[in-house]
């Protein structure tokens, strides 16, 4: 109670900044959406994407503007989207704790789980999962592979699938310059402690990602052991290892990361991308979406970079849209609008617009009726006529894990370790991927303490 009283000054401060513009005019609906920076198409394209002979994609407005128009046309209701952005999951969480109210936000997997455990998210409605409704683009077009991953994941017995609608997903890997670094070297997390690459590689200044990489390096022998991989319970055991936050393990990872810290060029927050392009750095721990962006940018400057997913394992991550309880506040019109927003951006053509703009991979596959996403992949990556090509099978994404031969891209061989591979990892990569869960408060404290220890100056 005392605490609530103390929050008042904090509330005054935040409402001074954000208090205006919240009153709702009767009749007009306002939807407050918060998303990552640079994470949705801004329109104003210079040229159209030709998906096939009779299909073209072009964006003039921002996707948010297009949603407002579409919503009014479809439901006869004027809507106004208040769109804001944040830089990290923690920023979003702190903003909301300080009193910012949103209806729809798009945090990463573990933050979704944290919000579920704090009972702050509204489950998606049953109608939202009804495939017979024309406008339910999300459920009709969601990749069956991704849907399976979501269904396996739960927090306090609540399946993530019922609470969060997927947006983008990807892996954690290493972008590297093949002129200086061999694919073999780039296929192990231990490269970050390799003296050969002294002060020429970077890792992320992000506790969870770098902890994951350190944990993989710590368990490298087990993780790459063929017997371990052949274990019928391989996936479960892998997930267990990659979510280990026991005191002892954290200490061991601390030792590994302390060595990395001395060996790497830096622990970068956002400079890694441009440093790869300018050649200051030869390899960089990176999320797949940023990797695509980096490879694209470098290519414009005539530098050809590759992406690798280490043999040990990779972090399969995703961001998902969730409806905040305090924002929606039992307003059924608002909930309907929030779900409509998710559906609109999940329409395959809009999913492609987003992918093209931000370089990340949408969870939308388009199902059997709509080939827009697959057409887009072919548009980007399939080999020109007469060019050498190899088949690249990504059927798992469109037809579910285990599927083969139905969705195959004939791509130039280099694409097997460049953008195509980065955006749609191969089946082998998928098999060795692990999801990193939300850690409890004690584990979080252990890991943050470890991180502070690594980063602080050592007196003795």
């Amino acid at each position: 109670m005392k605490r609530a009283f103390l929050l008042i000054p904090a509330l005054i401060i935040t409402t001074v900044f954000s208090g205006c513009g919240q009153e709702e005019k009767t009749g007009e609906l306002t939807l407050r959406v918060a998303n990552w920076e640079e994470y949705m198409d801004q329109g104003e394209w210079e040229e159209a994407i030709e998906l096939s002979d009779d299909k073209e994609l072009f964006a003039e407005n921002t996707l948010v503007d297009d949603f407002e128009i579409w919503y009014e046309e479809t439901y006869g209701q004027k809507i106004n989207v208040e769109y804001s952005t944040y830089g990290t999951n923690e920023d979003l969480y702190n903003q909301m704790r300080l009193g910012d109210v949103f209806d729809l936000v798009c945090p990463s997997d573990y933050m979704v789980m944290k919000l579920i455990s704090e009972d702050r998210i509204l489950p998606l409605s049953e109608e939202f999962f009804e495939t017979s409704v024309e406008e339910n683009y999300y459920i009709k077009n969601l990749s069956p592979y991704i849907a399976d991953q979501y269904k396996k994941l739960s927090m306090d017995g609540k399946p993530v699938y019922d609470y969060g609608a997927g947006y983008m997903w990807g892996t954690l890997g290493i972008v590297y310059n093949p002129d200086y670094i061999t694919p073999e070297d780039a296929s192990h997390f231990s490269m970050f402690s390799d003296k050969k690459f002294y002060k020429t590689v970077t890792v992320k200044d992000s506790i969870r990602d770098t902890y994951f990489a350190g944990l993989a390096a710590l368990n490298a022998d087990t993780l790459t052991d063929p017997d371990f991989k052949a274990d019928p319970e391989y996936k479960e055991k892998l997930t267990e290892i990659m979510n280990d936050t026991s005191e002892e393990t954290v200490d061991e990872v601390e030792d590994i990361l302390s060595v990395w810290r001395e060996n790497v060029y830096s622990m970068e927050t956002d400079s890694g991308k441009s440093d790869m392009v300018t050649g200051k750095v030869l390899a960089n721990l990176q999320w797949s979406g940023d990797a695509v962006y980096t490879i694209d940018q470098a290519e414009e400057d005539g530098v050809y970079l590759s992406y690798s997913v280490p043999d040990e394992t990779t972090n399969l991550w995703f961001d998902a849209w969730v409806m905040m309880k305090n924002g929606i506040a039992q307003d059924s019109r608002k909930q309907q609008a929030a779900e409509a927003f998710i559906n609109f951006i999940s329409r395959p053509d809009n999913a492609v617009r987003n992918m093209d703009y931000i370089g990340y991979t949408s969870v939308i596959s388009g199902g059997e009726d709509d080939s827009t996403v697959f057409d887009y992949i072919n548009y980007c990556y399939s080999a020109e006529e007469g060019e050498e090509s190899v088949p690249y099978d990504i059927s798992y994404f469109f037809d579910g894990e285990g599927a083969e031969g139905t969705y195959v891209v004939e791509a130039p061989p280099e694409q097997l370790h460049r953008q195509l591979f980065t955006q749609y990892p191969s089946t082998e990569v998928i098999e060795r991927s692990a999801i990193m869960r939300c850690f409890d408060a004690d584990a979080n404290e252990r890991i943050s303490r470890m991180w502070t220890n690594i980063r602080c100056f050592r007196l003795w």
Binding site: L6, I13, E90, Y93, T200, K280, S448, C456, L459
Partner: protein, 263 residues
């Protein structure tokens, strides 16, 4: 009489500003620093800090960076200000503008440029993180040292210097016994404007690849780990420390003033 009353009202907007943006946040900082996660009073947050060798290491590292930065800024700024205000070179004010001009350009942009220049000179920046940090800090804070010192030398009564010379003081004595004490207020405000921000400015470290935390980054790391109590505690420690330093330098400056008055 009426006029002065009305003048008082002019201060009200600032008073409101002071209350909302200075006093309230201070109150919140101390509240979080002195409570645990459940809102109960505790001093254990401070215990965490002073028993953690890494946190103390960070404090000392920050102070070393800030001290070196301040010393170099002072060594560069004093002669520059002296020459600009006293030696009667043409267009002293124009030179001053050139020195201050970097302040007109966005800070991160300047650092990005500096990063490229240093890369060009050093090859691999990551080999000299400490040196780069000092260069970045000095580059960033130098104008804040030049301006107050320049002002205090500029305003100085030349008659006092001439009198000292007339009474037989050598050049060296004039400088150390008259000029330096008289310019002390400028030096002190320069030091406060450089030393304190240099202890927390982690952007320079981030951009010039120094992966070691200073106080600013340590505070940030607590907040991104949702540990508001420890984050607020470190801020409070820093606040008290800075308060202490300001008070100390203030006294030094007062003493210098008094000495100056005795002359």
């Amino acid at each position: 009489m009426e006029l002065s009353l009305k003048r008082k009202y002019l201060g009200i907007p600032y008073l409101i500003f002071l209350f909302i943006f200075v006093l309230l946040p201070l109150f919140v900082i101390f509240y979080y620093a002195l409570t645990d996660g459940t809102g109960h009073f505790t001093l254990s947050n401070f215990g965490h800090f002073f028993t953690n060798s890494r946190a103390i290491g960070t404090l000392i590292y920050s102070m070393v960076i800030a001290l070196i930065t301040t010393a170099i800024c002072l060594l560069l700024a004093y002669p520059t200000s002296y020459v600009l205000s006293r030696s009667g070179i043409k267009g002293g004010a124009a030179w001053l503008i050139i020195i201050v001009m970097p302040m007109w350009i966005n800070f991160t942009l300047r650092l990005t440029a500096l990063k490229e220049i240093l890369s060009f000179i050093e090859g691999n920046l990551a080999f000299h993180p400490f040196l780069n940090t000092i260069i970045g800090m000095v580059y960033d804070f130098l104008p804040f040292m030049v301006l107050p010192i320049y002002n205090s030398i500029e305003k100085m009564d030349t008659a006092l210097l001439e009198a000292a010379e007339d009474l037989g003081a050598g050049k060296r004595e004039v400088f150390f016994k008259v000029m330096l004490p008289l310019s002390m207020p400028g030096i002190v405000s320069g030091i406060t404007m450089v030393f304190l921000p240099a202890m927390t400015n982690y952007v320079v470290l981030d951009m010039l690849y120094n992966s070691t935390y200073i106080m600013g980054s340590l505070i940030g790391s607590y907040f991104s780990a949702f540990n508001w109590n420890d984050g607020a505690m470190v801020s409070a420690v820093l606040l008290v420390l800075i308060g202490l330093l300001t008070w100390l330098t203030g006294r030094v400056s007062d003493d210098a003033d008094r000495e100056g008055a005795r002359l």
